[in-house]
């Protein structure tokens, strides 16, 4: 069934893009996502039979009231958050790697996630300085947090893009990203110092956020934002492909670099920012997944890499969530433990990667 649907989706529009091997890979990845999603719903402190889980989700009736609450209010939103988070971070990472021509770029390491944190800090704590309390209006604060984190991410990316052309070495760009991250952390510290208890508490609560802190109401905001941003990313595939050739060539084959770069940055900031706004900073998914996608497809083409990265990102985050559930560890530790050895391997594998342009 899945095989057919994947083929039906892709084959008629892209006859030459999808070889048989790759449509099999896509089908397999969809299957893996489905299995991991089910496992993620299944594992947890309460032992709920799988048959009951299906019944609760599809017919909303259950033997025990408490089971229904656990599934619908806790495990299902958490698993959906993992899907949104995995796909958004993976695609954001892929676009950043293309944009910065840098195999080690990602939302976390470039300070984009920290930028989102600064946005939220200013929104939650800073607004109280001018007499607005965020807690008064919860609906507004829901959108406000997303918008603030978007602005924060956009700001960091804007600064990086403005200086990146003057830097010849990709490691310098990474160091700059780390430095921006530190400055941002320092700024957040200053804001924290000057805030009152209530504001500080709601910000600290935010920083400790993870997949399980996303509520059903918040999912109603996050889901459409992520889906739309992922679709827009896919629509920019052609432009992203031309970036691979380098800026001059991209211009010479008719790409409007200025316009498409602003679009790419905005959509990446929306993806990384909104995820950071709701799930807190989750590292290394954005760096690692695009490499898995390139290895699997043996392709440069964003029309393929974007959907494949999304699927791999989802799988990896579901795995990380299952592990973090089993070991009772924060998910950010799990993604770091999976991600960092792989990054070291990338560095050793391409010794030439310090070459920019």
């Amino acid at each position: 069934m899945l095989v057919f649907s994947a083929k039906a989706l892709f084959l008629p529009t892209m006859p030459k893009l999808i070889s048989n091997n790759i449509s099999v890979s896509i089908a397999l990845l969809c299957l893996i996502v489905l299995i991991l999603f089910s496992l993620d719903l299944f594992f947890g402190p309460a032992n709920i039979p799988f048959k009951e889980i299906l019944k609760i989700i599809f017919s909303n009736d259950s033997v025990k009231e408490s089971w229904s609450v656990i599934i619908l209010e806790s495990r299902l939103p958490k698993a959906i958050s993992a899907i949104l988070c995995g796909s958004a971070l993976a695609v954001a990472g892929l676009k950043l790697q293309t944009l910065f021509k840098n195999p080690l770029a990602g939302p976390y390491i470039l300070g984009v996630s920290s930028g989102a944190g600064l946005g939220v800090a200013i929104f939650v704590m800073g607004l109280s300085f001018i007499g607005i309390s965020v807690q008064d209006i919860s609906f507004l604060s829901n959108f406000g947090v997303v918008f603030a984190s978007f602005l924060g991410s956009f700001l960091v990316l804007g600064i990086l893009i403005a200086v990146v052309n003057r830097l010849k070495d990709i490691m310098t760009v990474l160091v700059l990203g780390v430095m921006i991250g530190s400055i941002v952390t320092a700024l957040i510290g200053i804001i924290q110092y000057f805030s009152n208890d209530v504001q500080l508490k709601s910000f600290i609560m935010w920083t400790m956020g993870d997949l399980s802190s996303v509520t059903n109401t918040q999912l109603l905001t996050l889901t459409p934002i992520v889906i739309i941003a992922l679709i827009l990313s896919f629509l920019l595939s052609k432009q992203l492909n031309t970036y691979l050739m380098g800026e001059e060539y991209a211009l010479s084959i008719g790409t409007n670099i200025k316009k498409s770069r602003i679009l790419v940055i905005s959509i990446t900031a929306i993806l990384a920012g909104s995820i950071t706004a709701y799930c807190g900073p989750i590292g290394f998914i954005g760096i690692v997944v695009p490499h898995f996608a390139r290895m699997l497809t043996q392709s440069y083409d964003h029309r393929l890499l974007i959907p494949i990265s999304a699927l791999i990102g989802i799988s990896l985050l579901l795995v990380a969530d299952i592990i973090s559930q089993a070991l009772q560890l924060p998910i950010n530790s799990i993604t770091s433990l999976i991600g960092i050895p792989f990054i070291i391997w990338i560095i050793f594998k391409n010794k030439k990667i310090t070459n920019l342009n």
């Binding site: 052609k238 001059e248 060539y249 010479s252 008719g254 440069y300 029309r303």
Partner: protein, 254 residues
């Protein structure tokens, strides 16, 4: 009026350096034109300016009556293609797909190629005789092979004008000559107008229809015989350690 290339009162440069100062120049199309000049005279900047990749300060560049500077990026991409000195580092791309980048100005928003695109890609492959490695990974090619592929990409872009910046720079002797002969064929058989920056003045004299000499912010065009007869090279290359031998057409070390 057979002058299809018209550059008039063109000035360009950087904040602290003038590259061209009110240059006027006309040439015929479908010629192989070599752009020569010492290091730092601004050959690359001139090509970039004409290609719309570097802002011009003043003046115009007409091709067949169209001012190229008035065109939008995507319209210009259908008239002019470039082969730059910068190598492209793209992982996982086969030669055929790389050449396919030349079709981007013509494909839809998702870059899906139609039969015309495939036809022109295959035609570019056969013009450059690169059939034997058209399915190979671009990164595994030698410098000479890469340069033929880069030229094929520009041919696939199907533009009447092609600019090349030092197309023979990293190549061995045989590859140098073969690339230059390929360019020459393109102008005579495929109705291309090719302007290429080069330091290989001796080959340029033998193969080019015209030479554009960039010196002291001025640009002048000569036929190879004019260049030799008027002793232009000794003015451009004014060095005690080298002299141009008119009879052999080669430089000699003093």
């Amino acid at each position: 009026m057979n002058q299809n290339i018209n550059i008039s009162s063109l000035s360009t440069g950087y904040a602290n350096k003038v590259i061209l100062d009110a240059v006027d120049l006309s040439s015929k199309k479908n010629q192989l034109i070599a752009l020569i000049g010492r290091n730092g005279t601004g050959k690359s900047t001139l090509l970039k300016t004409l290609a719309g990749l570097h802002p011009h300060l003043n003046g115009s560049f007409h091709f067949n009556g169209t001012n190229m500077f008035d065109l939008s990026n995507d319209k210009r991409a259908q008239l002019l293609s470039i082969v730059s000195t910068k190598a492209s580092y793209i992982d996982n791309i086969v030669v055929k797909d790389f050449i396919g980048f030349g079709r981007y100005p013509y494909t839809n928003w998702l870059g899906i190629k139609n039969n015309t695109d495939d036809f022109l890609i295959n035609k570019a492959i056969s013009i450059c005789s690169i059939e034997e490695f058209s399915e190979r990974n671009y990164q595994t090619l030698s410098d000479g092979e890469k340069q033929r592929v880069n030229i094929a990409r520009a041919i696939a872009q199907d533009t009447p004008i092609i600019f090349l910046d030092e197309p023979t720079a990293h190549l061995d002797l045989v590859n140098k000559i073969e690339v230059l002969k390929l360019l020459k064929e393109l102008t005579s058989n495929q109705e291309k107008t090719i302007i290429y920056a080069t330091h290989q003045i001796e080959y340029a004299i033998q193969l080019s229809d015209e030479l554009w000499v960039l010196n002291n912010s001025q640009l002048n065009s000569y036929t190879p015989s004019q260049l030799i007869e008027q002793d232009i090279l000794s003015q451009v290359i004014d060095s005690p350690s080298i002299e141009f031998d008119k009879t052999s057409g080669f430089f000699k070390i003093r």
